[in-house]
Symmetry: C2
Subunit: 168 residues, 2 copies
C-alpha cells in the first residue's frame, strides 16, 4: 500500500465509522484529513482533496469547530483562513465524550427520571416503572463512563483504565 492509498483509506474508514455512530460522513472525513495533515489547510484544499463543494466544506468545518475538534489558523500576510485539527487524541476523545453527553445522554436521563414518576397504580404501570428505572441505571452508567473520560487527565487515562479492565 502506498502512502497516498493509506491516507485515502484512513479518510474513508473514519468516515464510515462516523456514519455508523450517527455522525455526518463528510464531517468525519474532513476531520481525518486535517488530523493527518502536517500543516494547516485551507478550504480550497479540503474541497479538492475530498471532491466536495465550498458550501459543504464550510458547513462541516464550522461544525467541527463547534465540536471543538478543529481550530482556525491565520497566516500572516494571507487573508485565507486555514484550519488545523486537534492532534492530541485523548483531548479529542474527551471533547467528543463531552459533546455527546451534553447533546444526547443528559436529555435522555432527564426524561427517564420524569417518566419514573408516573404514579398510575396498575401492574402494567409498575412494570413500566421497573424497566424505566433499570434503563435509567444503564444510561447512567454510560453517562458515568463518558464523564470519567472527560475528567481524566491525558496520560493518566490509559494507565488507569487499562489496569482496571485487565483485571476483569
Amino acid at each position: 500500500m502506498t502512502f497516498d492509498e493509506a491516507k485515502a483509506k484512513f479518510v474513508q474508514t473514519w468516515g464510515t465509522l462516523a456514519t455508523q455512530w450517527g455522525i455526518n460522513r463528510t464531517m468525519a472525513q474532513i476531520h481525518a484529513l486535517l488530523m493527518i495533515a502536517p500543516d494547516p489547510i485551507d478550504t480550497d484544499t479540503v474541497m479538492e482533496q475530498l471532491q466536495i463543494s465550498r458550501g459543504n466544506a464550510n458547513m462541516n468545518l464550522r461544525e467541527l469547530m463547534d465540536w471543538g475538534l478543529v481550530y482556525k489558523q491565520l497566516k500572516p500576510g494571507d487573508r485565507r483562513e486555514y484550519y488545523i485539527a486537534e492532534k492530541d487524541v485523548w483531548k479529542i476523545a474527551r471533547q467528543v465524550a463531552k459533546e455527546r453527553r451534553r447533546r444526547e445522554i443528559t436529555p435522555v436521563i432527564e426524561v427517564l427520571e420524569e417518566l419514573k414518576k408516573v404514579n398510575t397504580d396498575t401492574p402494567e404501570a409498575e412494570a413500566f416503572r421497573k424497566i424505566v428505572g433499570d434503563l435509567s441505571q444503564v444510561v447512567g452508567f454510560a453517562d458515568n463512563t463518558l464523564n470519567a473520560v472527560i475528567k481524566a487527565e491525558e496520560n493518566w487515562l490509559m494507565g488507569q483504565f487499562l489496569t482496571f479492565f485487565r483485571s476483569i
Copy 2:
C-alpha cells in the same frame, strides 16, 4: 402525565436516542414498545401501536432478534407469532456492546493496524503513523470498555464500575 402519555414519550425518546447513535428509529421504538409490554405482543399490535406497515414491523422485529434483544414466543393454540423483549437491562447492554464491537469497532482496529505499517520514509508519513497509532489506542480503549461490559456479570457490573468511577 397520564400513563399512556408516559408510554408514548418513552417510545419516542428511545427512538430519538437510537437515531442519534446510528440506529433505525423504528427498530428502537418497537424495542421500547416490547420492553414495556407486560405480555408478548404480535405483529398486528406493533403495527397498530406505532402506525407502521406489516413489512416495516416484520423487518425490524427480525433485526431486533438478530441483535439478540427480542425473542419469538409461540402461544399454544394460536398460529400467530408473539414477540417478547429481553427485560434484563444489563443483558441488553451486553448484547448491544457485543454487536457494536463486532460490527463497527473490531473492523476499524484492523484497518488502523494495517495503516500503521505503511513504511514510507518522510516526515509526513511519520506524522501519519503517529496519529494513526494514537487513534488506534483510543479506539482500543473503546474496545476494552465494551469488552468489559460484555464480560461483566449482571449485578457485579454496576457495583464495580460505580466504585471505580466514583474514585475519579
